[in-house]
């Protein structure tokens, strides 16, 4: 399997649309086109092998299922994962002659995604590159604001950033996907699957989602008590095999209880005269989320 210049260009455009900050807005861009599952669909269509594309997308989506980028802190940029990692993974799968939906193919896909997207830090470099270049356009914007030339803002917000993306999304995607297939083959020879490096890489692929979940936890957990809902949810899914919608449904009744509890306590607190007792303060502590 090879990736033609035209195919590589289309992938480059999708990379531009779907990055964080991307040209399609976060709803349609990063949160839709950027998700590896959707990326797999797109790459499958572009490279003419839907099944392998989807399978690679599913595998990589698992790694990045809980990716959040709070305050522009990007631990893995999805343009590289979805539009460089997935196509190269597809090439690798083909060159190995693996069945699209086999476990090995999925693992290969994950390792490629890990390699390209995270370990290689390609994605984060591209992200910071784009964001930094945008400073130029923002500078133009500030001048326009000062001059009261507001219409210019549209160009600043909607037009110029394409230039950043041409450089940091389109070109890298174009080159890396087009020339990547030989690299992928080279990799195969250099790093045999049963060698320490590849084993480590695959293991890292399995461990990485822990960081994603932990980032989420950091936002939710303030006191040790906040671990409780997490572990209850974990238990429901791990021990009872409840699916996510079912977990969500069950969680609603607890949410309702805690809502009412907080309302009861707060109404109550209003009723208590200003000189509150220490008991209330103790309670307060673990109440803040």
């Amino acid at each position: 399997m090879t990736i033609s210049w035209i195919q590589a260009s289309i992938l480059g455009i999708f990379a531009s649309l779907s990055s964080m900050p991307g040209m399609a807005g976060s709803t349609i861009g990063n949160y839709t086109l950027g998700r590896p599952l959707v990326g797999g669909l797109v790459c499958g269509l572009v490279l003419g092998d839907l099944k392998t594309g989807i399978a690679a997308g599913v595998a990589m989506q698992l790694v990045y299922i809980a990716l959040v980028t709070p305050g522009g802190t990007v631990s893995a940029d999805l343009r590289a994962v979805s539009y460089i990692g997935i196509p190269l993974a597809m090439v690798a799968i083909h060159s190995q002659g693996l069945a699209a939906t086999s476990t090995n193919a999925a693992d290969l896909a994950k390792s490629m995604g890990t390699l390209v997207g995270t370990v290689g830090t390609v994605g984060t470099v591209l992200f910071y590159g784009t964001a930094t270049m945008n400073l130029v356009w923002q500078h133009i914007g500030w001048r326009a604001v000062e001059k009261g030339d507001f219409k210019k803002l549209y160009a600043v917000d909607w037009g110029y950033p394409w230039i950043s993306h041409f450089i940091f999304s389109f070109i890298p995607t174009l080159l890396m996907t087009h020339f990547g297939s030989s690299a992928v083959t080279a990799l195969k020879t250099a790093l045999p699957m049963d060698g320490i490096p590849m084993k480590t890489l695959f293991t890292v692929g399995a461990l990485l989602p822990c960081v994603g979940i932990a980032i989420l936890l950091k936002q939710i957990v303030d006191s040790p008590l906040d671990f409780i809902p997490f572990f209850v949810g974990f238990t429901f899914a791990a021990s009872l095999h409840l699916n996510l919608v079912s977990v969500t449904v069950v969680s609603l009744i607890f949410a309702m209880i805690f809502y009412k509890l907080d309302m009861a306590i707060s109404t109550n607190r209003q009723a208590v005269p200003s000189g509150t007792t220490s008991t209330i303060d103790d309670d307060e502590e673990d109440e803040d989320i």
Partner: protein, 280 residues
């Protein structure tokens, strides 16, 4: 100004403002002024409609040059609120720069937190979790399902947030920040916590390949099975808590934690604790 007719932003302009935000909130993002320009382009149609003379427009737009960043989907409510405040300012002027920017600054933090964990960290993983199941085996169904469900929720949810914010004005703030808001956040955090737990258990799998075998090659101790009999998913849970601990208690950055995991993986592979068991 008191005697003039009350100015109201037309529906059309509100729509325009909303769509500018929907599309452009992050396009020209930089680390310095994250969503400020998205905000400016979103307020521009409103300012242009409310104020006729250039000077007033410039004064109004100046307000929105202050740094802004929040979670874009839920944050739409803030844009709606400022639309209504701008309208109020245009009418009687006892709303000023400081009010608007205090409110923007005060809300963007909490709403970023809520939005990142609720929308991006909870809602999207849940839809993705479902979709993944549907795409098992290479079917495009899951991906299509995700595209449709998420974008409908995203678009109409943001629309709702925008117009609700506009309608309620700073009362929306009261709801989000008062006792009820706290209770709501607690409720959401509960759902979030449980669902994230579910996501972790469903889609994250850390497994050890450690076994003790007797002379005839039969394994008499499969560590993974023993661990699961203690608590299903124990190893996964331990790794997640360890990562959390490193980041939350030891202030180690995610990137460094990942590097630590690489080292852990390497050692684990060398000791035979981890073995992905693959071959070309």
């Amino acid at each position: 100004m008191d005697n003039t007719e009350k100015k109201t932003i037309s529906r059309k302009t509100l729509n325009k403002s909303f769509h500018h935000w929907f599309y452009g909130h992050l396009t020209v993002f930089s680390q310095e002024h994250m969503q400020t320009f998205g905000y400016l382009t979103s307020m521009l149609p409103i300012v242009e409609e409310l104020y006729d003379n250039k000077e007033d427009q410039e004064k109004a737009m100046k307000t929105y040059t202050a740094f802004f960043n929040t979670e874009p989907q839920l944050g739409t409510v803030i844009v709606g609120v400022t639309a209504s405040l701008e309208e109020a300012r245009a009418n009687h002027g006892n709303v000023d720069d400081t009010t608007i920017n205090g409110l923007r600054a005060g809300l963007m933090g909490p709403i970023a937190g809520i939005g990142d964990s609720l929308v991006v960290g909870t809602l999207i993983p849940v839809i993705l979790g479902i979709a993944l199941g549907m795409s098992d085996g290479g079917s495009p169904l899951g991906a299509i399902f995700y595209i449709i469900v998420w974008n409908l929720l995203g678009y109409f949810g943001m629309r709702f947030a925008y117009f609700k914010g506009y309608e309620l004005g700073d009362k929306a703030v009261g709801i989000l920040v008062g006792a009820q808001g706290k209770a709501i956040r607690r409720a959401i955090a509960t759902v979030g916590g449980m669902v994230v737990g579910g996501v972790a258990a469903t889609w994250v799998t850390v497994k050890t390949s450690f076994k003790l075998t007797n002379s005839s090659g039969k394994a008499y101790l499969v560590l993974q099975d023993k661990l699961d009999s203690v608590y299903p998913g124990l190893l996964t849970a331990l790794f997640i808590v360890a990562c959390w601990w490193l980041m939350a208690k030891k202030n180690i950055s995610p990137i460094k934690v990942m590097l630590i995991l690489v080292v852990v993986a390497l050692i684990g592979v060398l000791l035979g604790f981890f073995n992905p068991g693959l071959s070309y």
